[in-house]
Amino acid sequence: MNSTILITIISLSLLALFSAIILYFIAQKFKIIEDPRIDEVQALLPAANCGGCGFAGCRNLAEALVKANTLEGLNCPVGGADVMSQVAKLLGKEAPIVEPMVAVLLCNGSIENRPLTSKYDGAPDCRISNSLYIGETDCSYGCLGNGDCVRACKFDAIYMNPETSLPVIIDDKCVSCGACVKACPKNIIELRKKAKKDYKIYVACSNCDKGGIARKACKVACTACTKCVKVCEYNAITIENNLAYIDASKCTFCRKCVTECPTGSILELNFPARKTISETRTESVTA
């Protein structure tokens, strides 16, 4: 073999070996010793990096979980109780008590219920239209319909219904990460406790104007007439600033408030159709 080639091969190999040795020692000197459990916990997390846990990404949460004395207060809403119990088992700590939640829009001001009184043709962004005026209706509090929440959702759980101009939240996909809650400039999206069979009962209104003004702006506004408060046997409903609010943890889904509400402001979702009185009478007669 040509001696030039031989010298080239040997010198390059020695250079490579020399660099490798230097790199090895530098790697050893600057090695970061990390708890190996952080990698293991991170592998259990869903890797959505949505920030719903309140930390900067899944790795950040994994670090916090490993370092924490107790897992109470720490939760991955996307993974839910399943993932949290797996993590707890891995770390030998007690699993935190986690209540599954779901995002709910506290407004039912569709185009049919809440007539448009002006047209907005500025930038299609709720934060911007909110900074300019009360919106295309006479309700200063309701949904603006420009879809900041739709854009904020990383789980495809919200879409805009073109007929109502209101966002629709898909229960199955919502992981209660809270991104839409933060994105809404009107602060009318709320995380509510998830109930059995996805039952939902809530006051679909955020209007704090006096009853007369609210009702003129929207057919299904809450006028704070207090009928719901009086009929609720579980003290689940409170009225503040001309607006009724149902506490999801006290509600037993008896639906009495829904029937009582004169404007239809309280919504019941995912319930089976109610039996009418004539149906029940027929049943008892034939039985």
């Binding site: 002006s118 500025g122 911007i128 900074s131 005026y133 009360i134």
Partner: protein
């Protein structure tokens, strides 16, 4: 001819009402006077339902440093204190008064006589302007009495009177200069006395030759006041641009005109100062331009504060059938109104009725990086960049790029060939950045007090 060096645009002037002399609008049957008509803290209502009031009577008092008084514009009975959606686009408290007769407060000099002798001291001038609710009538509505005292350690060597009226369509300042020129110059002299300066310059854009000639003529009878014509370019009427064009001085970023020894007041404000100090008349009426290509009788009207704009539209010939948008202020910086019950407030320099084919914004397209927005920005900012930063929520970077300097003149949005709503996004970024800066200042205060 003098002008500002950087940026600027030339929207069509459309000064349809430049030759229409001021008409007094008939007294409205009722007025609705909002309590937030000025920058700063809203005033506190001091009257009750059923009270009888006279025109010029205080109905809401100044609350805090940046605040001023609000007066009834008619005589009559207070119907109620309730809320109304006003020209800000939001619901605010307002005093509803039913008009009865036209009795003014006894202290007001209601005669036509022009009072030339200035007998008040500088402190009395400032006090009278606060009591009379004088605010910046160029549109910013900053309580003027605050800009009439020179802070300790600073000096004012020139008072600038802003007669530029660079917004298209608006002509109320133009007519005021032609018809109340002497009163404006007396008002300027009053301001000079309060600011303890011997020099005043009135800047007027070159599309108002008659006003330039008239005021130059009158100014020869006043010591220290001169008139300067300025090249027609928007936004020449902006404070910093005006100071640069007239004096060559540049107000540094984050600083005020007084930091370069200048103070700027609008001609309408100078007139209001004359009325407040020389005639004891509080600010309760103003000249409003009512204009639009489809109006049958557009004009400039002297209107009582609180008059619904429906009355102005009636006086201008009635609402045209093809009306698509009603804007309060000018087409560049004004704001669209959502109904015609909205009352006239101190800052309403004009209302423009746009036909439907000029109302809707076209659909906007992507940014093509043409940099036209950069070339027209009078403050040397990069609008396309500020928009992207605001949209993506990168507010710290936006702050570094100087978004807080933006005066929201709208030149960038006007020139964008893609029709992009640049100003909307920049305003969003600006409000977030200012909020961040406020929170930072609060935190710093806490660390020092701890």
């Amino acid at each position: 001819m003098k002008t500002f060096p950087l940026g600027g645009v030339h929207p069509p002037e459309n000064k349809l009402t430049a030759n229409k002399s001021i008409r007094v609008l008939p007294l409205p049957s009722s007025v609705v006077i909002p309590v937030s008509q000025h920058l700063g803290v809203a005033s506190t209502v001091v009257v009750n339902k059923g009270d009888t009031v006279k025109a010029g009577q205080v109905i809401a008092e100044s609350k805090g440093y940046v605040s001023t008084n609000i007066h009834s514009s008619v005589s009559g009975k207070v119907n109620k204190i309730d809320t109304i959606i006003d020209n800000s686009g939001y619901r605010h408290t307002a005093v509803f008064i039913d008009t009865e007769g036209d009795i003014w407060m006894d202290s007001i000099d209601r005669s036509e006589k022009i009072i030339r002798e200035i007998s008040c001291s500088p402190e009395e001038i400032v006090k009278k302007c606060l009591e009379s609710g004088v605010v910046g009538l160029g549109g910013a509505t900053f309580p003027s009495h605050i800009k009439m005292t020179v802070p300790a350690g600073k000096k004012c060597d020139v008072l600038i009177i802003n007669g530029v009226e660079c917004e298209p369509y608006l002509t109320s300042d133009h007519r005021l200069m032609l018809e109340k020129g002497e009163e404006i110059l007396i008002g300027a002299s009053v301001l000079m006395k309060a600011l303890k300066t011997g020099k005043a310059v009135i800047g007027i854009e070159d599309n108002k030759h008659d006003a330039i000639e008239h005021l130059t003529d009158l100014a020869s009878g006043f010591k220290g006041i001169s008139v300067q014509a300025l090249k027609v370019k928007y936004p020449q009427g902006a404070e910093k641009q005006l100071i640069k064009a007239l004096t060559g001085r540049e107000v540094p970023s984050g600083k005020l005109p007084i930091d370069v020894n200048a103070v700027v007041h609008n001609v309408g404000t100078a007139f209001a100062v004359y009325e407040a100090v020389q005639k004891n008349k509080p600010l309760f009426e103003r000249v409003v331009t009512v204009t639009g290509k489809s109006l049958s009788d557009p004009g400039n009207f002297l209107v009582r504060i609180g008059t619904p704009i429906s009355s102005l539209i009636e006086a201008a010939g009635g609402l045209p059938d093809d009306t698509g948008k009603i804007v309060s202020g000018g087409p560049m910086m004004g704001k669209a109104l959502i109904n015609t019950a909205i009352p006239v407030v101190k800052g309403m320099s004009g209302i423009i009725l746009f036909p439907i084919d000029e109302s809707d914004r076209s659909e906007f397209k992507s940014c093509i990086r043409c940099a036209k927005c950069v070339s027209v920005c009078a403050l040397g900012l990069e609008p396309y960049l500020l928009v992207t930063l605001s949209e993506k929520g990168l507010f710290e970077r936006a702050e570094k790029e100087g978004i807080a300097n933006c005066m929201e003149c709208g030149s960038c949005a006007y020139i964008c060939p893609g029709n992009r709503p640049l100003l909307d996004y920049i305003r969003l970024g600006k409000s977030e950045v200012l909020k961040m800066a406020r929170e930072r200042a609060e935190k710093q205060k806490d660390t020092f007090t701890k």
